[in-house]
Amino acid sequence: MIEWLTTTDHKKIGIMYVVFVLAFFVIAGVLAGLIRAQLAVPNNTLLGAHAYNQVFTLHGTAMIFLVIAPFGFGLANFLVPLQIGAPDVAFPRLNAAGLWLFVLGGLTVFAGLATYGGAAATGWTAYAPLNEYFVGTGAGQDLFFIGLLMTSISTILTSINLLVTVFLLRAPGMTMWRIPIFTWEIVATSLLVLMAFPSLAAAFAMALIDRHMGAHFFDPAFGGNPVLYQHLFWFFGHPEVYVLILPYFGMITEIIATFSRKPVFGYVGMVISAFAIAGLSLGVWAHHMFTTGAVSNPFFSAVSFLIAVPTGVKFVNWIGTMWKGAISLTVPMLFAVGFLLNFLIGGITGVMIASPPIDYQAHDSYFIVQHFHYTIGGGSLFALFGALYFWFPKMFGFRLDERLGRWVFALLFLGFNATFIPMGFMGMEGMARRVYTYPAVGHLPMLNAIATLGSALMALGAILFFVEVLLAVRRRIPAGDNPWGAYTLEWMTSSPPPEFNFETLPAVRSRRPAL
């Protein structure tokens, strides 16, 4: 126990990230269940308005800041040194600090539940001036800002650490054009974090100063401006969604190449498109503000459309990697294919809402809820599960059950689509997001009932996953060093890898050293 609490080993830290992420995932999942229970029927009174507002705020905050983002960096912690042939990350103690800051930050946000007035109830976006109401009783809002400042400092530290590791600690022969795509995506993500997260820190710090020291940054009565908060928030917020997806692009690239028995198709295009997405994502923030009447809609619309081009390059490259391969549909590959099918819908709806005349209807409606769940849920979350199945044997030396894994995938895939397909139609019918109740008009009762049933299927899938992990821990069927016949360097060492990763310096002469 003490060994784990005090460790600076990147593999142990990586595994602890995964464990804490799964704990926060369970909490966020229960919150999602509460949301769907409340919305199962119109005019429901299960949760009150204030309880519901806290629930959806905590669900979104936890999934974004405490599940999807830290899983990417947690897995990177475990994998990046292994993939480039390094003994550890460049700054091991900074790495441990990052992990514990993330955990404490997450607990700080949830500590709001124990305060008078409850946790933050302003959505994960916490717009000003709404976030400045109830200063006296709203300690939950302060804990939200402080907790997320801690997680963002953690993310910045981890990004610097991983960048230095990739640039300075590669094994001989591991040139930049040979490092695996997952590591490349982490490089792009880390650079993006360094540019975007300071803006979030500024927005949250200004909101805290407004709340307690009367600075009036966002208060128009004193010359402040509420739109300024939106600019600062989304200058972080849009790059953030790519922080939530780029590492997952990397994970499924490795999975697809392995199970197609082929090299990654268009390796250079994969790398360039990651940086193109990261770069463009810094210039699209105001597409979250098309309805404010305060920004240049055509400019932000055009740049947003352009992001579809590098994303399309990635899609064709994934298909190109499968093309004429020998595809085995293992559980990780099923999740990768699920990612492709779901994320495509997220991408297409994303291009739609980048067109302001469509966004004028879709914005802040359930259409948007559908869109971002198809990218972050159907996309990132499916890749997360695929990555867990894929790298679990490397982390622990034994494997998860393939047969149960198929059931987990089937339940999650059916449940996910049953939950979120109806939401697009709810939005088009006029259902706003973040409402605790809705009237019994049109198709809304039917669509919501289907969505709630779908969420129950997803819950079953998630429960089955944890059962499967427990069974695997009890059975401990040895996996061997390279159970999948994968190509990257982490599969050339033992499972689990020894301290400092490699017994001898690995020889790297190609992009697929383990072939």
Binding site: A49, N53, A121, Y127, P129, L130, Y133, P226, V227, S260, K262, V264, F265, G266, Y267, G269, T292, G293, N297, P298, S301, A302, A308, V309, G312, V313, F315, V316, I319, G320, M322, W323, K324, G325, A326, I327, L340, L341, L344, I345, I348, T349, V351, M352, S355, P357, I358, Y360, Q361, H363, D364, S365, M428, E429, G430, A432, V435, Y436, T437, V441
Partner: protein
């Protein structure tokens, strides 16, 4: 999709249709490609994967085609959005003020109504005539959303947002606040009632006491 109740809404529905058509076409194409790979290239006994890793002409092609598509979609967007965003300054101007958690409507002759979360107010608009809406907020950021117009615009404290709307058919349209604004955001609804021009004139003449 709701049947649009304004001229601007009809234009925006065209934008929806174009994007849905393009999206469905791209979606089917990609799904067929993925499905083909999974069926034709399944790992059967004796199957050996071909070891190629790039194809320059193809890679340039799938960079150029999406770029052209994006340019076309932007052209469509721009052409449809510009007339919607144009403010022409028609004489019928209504001041709409959002507050937690209802709305206040003030008509050109001084007639004014306001609602509460449990008693949503009604906004009367004349059919076939352009009306200018001036949006304000008394407290936090709200959003004026009429799903039947396929349109919303935010009401932001400290600034006035102005837009034109030309209803093209009469009817009662349930509408609401779209931007989360705190506790009872879910109850912050209102009704837009589009009425014949003579009825609208009668409503104003009666100072809002005579409901049409």
């Amino acid at each position: 999709m709701t049947d649009p109740a304004s001229l601007q809404g009809v234009a925006m529905r065209t934008d929806w249709y174009i994007f849905i058509a393009a999206g469905v076409a791209v979606g089917i194409f990609v799904y067929v490609c993925i499905g083909w790979c999974l069926i034709a290239y399944r790992d059967r006994s004796g199957r050996v994967a071909e070891q190629f890793e790039n194809n320059k002409p193809l890679e340039i092609l799938y960079l150029v085609i999406p770029l052209l598509m994006v340019f076309a979609l932007f052209g469509v967007t721009y052409a449809i959005e510009m007339p919607i965003d144009r403010v022409t300054g028609p004489p019928n101007r209504i001041a709409v003020t959002a507050f937690r958690w209802s709305w206040r409507f003030e008509y050109p002759n001084g007639t004014s109504t306001a609602g509460t979360p449990t008693k949503p107010p009604t906004l009367y608009l004349p059919v076939g005539r352009s009306t200018q809406i001036e949006l304000r907020s008394d407290d936090v950021t709200h959003s004026f959303w009429v799903p039947a117009f396929l349109f919303k615009r935010d009401a932001i404290p400290g600034m006035i947002n102005v837009f034109d709307v030309t209803p093209n058919r009469t009817g009662r349209f349930v509408s609401r606040c779209a931007q989360f604004c705190g506790l009872d955001h879910a109850l912050m609804s209102f009704v837009v009632e589009v009425v014949p021009q003579s009825t609208y004139a009668r409503y104003l003449a009666g100072n809002g006491t005579v409901t049409p």
